[in-house]
Each structure stands twice: as C-alpha cells, then as structure tokens.
Amino acid sequence: QQPVQSPQAVILREGEDAVINCSSSKALYSVHWYRQKHGEAPVFLMILLKGGEQKGHDKISASFNEKKQQSSLYLTASQLSYSGTYFCGTAGGATNKLIFGTGTLLAVQP
C-alpha cells in the first residue's frame, strides 16, 4: 500500500539534474512532495491534484500521471541546499489519509 520511490539514493554534483519517481499500487487522488533535512521535520514542496498536472517551483517541478498511478519530481541544476530525503505522499478518497513513500536520499556535492 505504501508508495514505492526510486531510486533509493542518488548522489549528484552541483548543477546536475535528478528525477525521483513515486509509484502506487492504488488509485491516486493527489500526490504531495516533501523534503526532509537530517534531524528536521519534512517540509512541503508541492501538491498535484489531478492527472497530468505539472507544477514547478524555482528549479524543482513535478508531474502526475493518474493512469499510471505515478508521479515524478524533477530537480534541475541542483544546489547544495537540495540535499535531503524526498518523500512522496499519496492521498485517496475522502479520508485524506496521507501515506508517505519509501523515500529517496539525495546528496548534492560541491
């Protein structure tokens, strides 16, 4: 039931791009993306509400393929501040019970 993220971990140099994928075995009504720094609480990045929707913030964007029950997070020209663990969160139906994915550890090196 828990969404599966890939890759589990990725190491980048500053300025490189990365893609993080999130797949669910259940129908998705919305997808959330969060970033968590070590020792801190997760911080909201963005939410995608319907299939095909793409959103972006600065150089971080995401897409949502409702039919495939997948979402992808795109990090462009990565910065050191992008380091952390990224979680997708999926919510279904009227309950708004938010279940988080398995997580992807991203490390950006100088």
Binding site: S30, P42, I99, F100
Partner: protein, 114 residues
C-alpha cells in the same frame, strides 16, 4: 508558517513508564496525524483524526493511543513504554485550501526508552 507544536522534543524514560506526547495547533485544522519515523527511515502513519471525537488507526500497528477532545489538541499516549517504542514521533495537521491540501509538521518528539 504553520503553528503546530510538539512537546517534549526529547524524552528518555524507563521501560514500563506511561508517557504522553503533546501536539497542539492553533490553525483550526480538523485533520491531524501522528507519524512514526526511525532515523533515516520512512514515515509511517500510526493515528489520524478527522475532527473532535474522531480517531482512526493508521497503517502501521502501534500500541499507542490518541484522543481528540479539542480541535487544537491531539495527544499520543503510551501506557507502558518499551525499548521497541524508541523512535521519532511527528505530529501533523492538514490545511484544506483552494489549491489543495497541505500537511504541516511539528518539529517532532524523539523518544528513547531504556
């Protein structure tokens, strides 16, 4: 910025003790959540609430219990703590807006049972 607070931030207690982790939010959110997270690991939903007097268990089985007597308050209780309960507990609440729902997290409570 969201106003959601957890106390204590850090707690070390002995096996068998009863503990309550407090969570309060001043935003009037109906939906609140408790997640359990071991260091470097996934976030697991253990309890959630839709509003006053409404609580449900999450996907990860937990020996803890919760209550929701007031909208702003969602405490989590362990009647008899065990070393296996050592973990970080994160409280969250959901804001429902025109652009969708956003979850805000408290800073977390680190529990160590010895």
């Amino acid at each position: 910025e969201a106003d959601i607070y957890q106390t204590p931030r850090y707690l070390v207690i002995g096996t068998g003790k009863k503990i309550t982790l407090e969570c309060s939010q001043t935003m009037g959110h109906d939906k609140m959540y408790w997640y359990q997270q071991d260091p470097g690991m996934e976030l697991h939903l253990i309890h959630y609430s839709y509003g006053v007097n409404s609580t449900e268990k999450g996907d990860l089985s937990s020996e803890s219990t919760v209550s929701r007597i007031r909208t702003e308050h969602f405490p989590l209780t362990l009647e008899s703590a065990r070393p296996s309960h050592t973990s970080q507990y994160l409280c969250a609440s959901m804001a429902q807006g025109a652009i969708g729902n956003t979850i805000y997290f408290g800073e977390g409570s680190w529990l160590t049972v010895v």
